[in-house]
Amino acid sequence: MAAAPETIDQLRSVTDEKYKYGFVTDIDADVAPKGLSEDIVRFISAKKGEPEWLLEWRLKAYRAWLEMESPEWAKLKIAPIDYQDAYYYSAPKIGDGPKSLDEVDPKILETYEKLGIPLKEQEWLAGVAVDAVFDSVSVATTYKARLEQEGIIFCSISDAVKNHPDLVRKYIGSVVPYTDNYFATLNSAVFTDGSFVYIPKGVRSPMELSTYFRINAQNTGQFERTLIIAEEGSYVSYLEGCTAPQRDENQLHAAVVELVALDDAEIKYSTVQNWYPGDENGVGGIYNFVTKRAACRGKNSKVSWTQVETGSAITWKYPSCILQGDNSVGEFYSVAITNNCQQADTGTKMIHLGRNTRSTIISKGISAGRADNTYRGLVRIQPKAEGARNYTQCDSLLIGDKCGAHTVPYIESRNPSAKVEHEATTARISEDQLFYCRQRGLSEEDAVSLIVNGFCREVMQHLPMEFAVEAQKLVGISLEGSVG
């Protein structure tokens, strides 16, 4: 990608900082008592002024969660998590919530500016609308008016519950039911905020929609829930970015994202995940347990997941597509980088139900330091998925001799007409390549960044322009100190 040299400049400008988003914003917050109980669930629901049906749904989820056990099947070493030793709700004190950007606490605006996400519309990249989620609540959403002209709803999920309850009620939990898995169930009980997007029939969103998640408060979990509905023939590209302060204790992030694509609709969902990864000895960092799933319900619908995962101490994440509509298409493009003591177990699930459904999986895992990086993916062809096609390519790159790369593909085909391909490679970053780049004047870290960005190119080129440069820069930063 042509942006790489710019990338390297930016990389240079931050090489002294290991994790430049590690600062804390000092702000008054409205915090729920520590711990998790039915009372806390009621507290969150009451804080948000939710209708009875949603409280009931949360309570059902909470009761189901009490009966569940944390999954053990991933290749992750996780210290036991004390769910009673965390706060489940923390909101910056903003009275009844800001009516406009002028009412948002300047300290919060400053925080986002430091993160490179100015929330004042005129300063932000033209053509990107942003929903900013700070700890448990959405603090600002930009370009609402412009989007409303098109009939697009882009707001926090809390606002959607208030203003569009029928839509929320119809679709929430319809892709990821509240009983789905341990972390999704926990999220269903205590989710605090997140984004809501509704694209009406036949509308192409005129701009990229984006949510920027920021964990600030100490000992606080972030449980956001995002719901995107693309009606017949509509199109939206949605971006998500994440950062958190640098702290010695682990913090929990358990999000749920549900996408629904109806006939001929297309959703492009991109993530650049850069939660605090912990220090080089594995102290601190975010535990990132995320359930992301898309239902391609309509015929000819398409969902494309692109993720660049560079942060978090632990990443447990499998953005998936249920290809229900005939001719529907699912794509998964992933870069996962683990350095130092980071662990990632990530991949996708492509469930082919409809006829002539197609899926593509391109996964690039980069492992450095003492990190472990696992691709885990499922391709399932159901009996009625006549003519289904899948192509999977998993490439792993190792830097140094103390890290691990693992590929665990599950392939289940119940239809003889289906074609499923899987290719996998594992390589080491070569001393020849490094020397060649350095002989041309690149520092060792710039050389690693360039080589790894080349390795990831097939994935990076699926990112929207606005994110591509940031993502390339992150690749370099997250691999600092991995050679030499």
């Binding site: 990608m1 042509a2 790489a4 040299p5 390297i8 400049d9 070569s430 001393e431 020849d432 390549q433 020397f435 060649y436 780049c437 350095r438 002989q439 041309r440 004047g441 690149l442 520092s443 060792e444 710039d446 050389a447 360039l450 080589i451 960005n453 080349g454 390795f455 990831c456 190119r457 097939e458």
Partner: protein
Amino acid sequence: MALLEIRNLHVTVENKPILKGIDLAIDKGEVHAIMGPNGAGKSTLSYVIAGRDGYEVTDGQILFDGRDLHELEPDERACAGLFLAFQYPVEIPGVTNTTFLKTALNSLRKSRGEGELDAMQFLKFVREKAKPLGIGDDMLKRAVNVGFSGGEKKRNEILQLAVLEPMLAVLDETDSGLDIDALKIVAEGVNMLRGPDNATLLITHYQRLLDYIVPDRVHVLADGRIVKSGGKELALELEAKGYAQFSGAEAA
């Protein structure tokens, strides 16, 4: 003062002595050729000048433009104006030739305190450099050396040389694997870059490259030592008589 001055250079690779006391001085404006049989230490000399890991200098020193290279990392040597055209250019999948060249050039410019070229300025610049080498936009857009033929790889090295404009270019067996047409293109490229402020060190096994790039001095390297030096006619003599006359040294 010579641009490159090598004094009594001893180098071991995995504890095995390869270079056993090299003395060599190259002035600005000169082209020197180092010839020698396989295993004489020619590539070792090029790598040790460029600063590759695994080549241990046990005695002597290399001065480049008055600086002791021993203190400098490979990228610092490149920024100081040293270029090595590789015998086996390395593939870098996913990184386009243009991106690679632009990144490299801007690294060098930055180290010299010069402003960086933006994408448009660079494209114009690189096209001018690429044209005489028969390198078109398609080759600039391809990933560095990936799927290149032997001749394309060597031309690509010369393109990098032309873009980076070093003070000293070391060409390690740049003629190997080239047919006569490709050899001429490469040689013309090198000749075009010759100037009063730079110098070239050609490392080659065969004399034929020297028909096209005429050296000021020719040195014969055998068994880790320069056993004979002379003018361009020495190359012809070697062509006629072969390296057998130095085989006594080579047998060691």
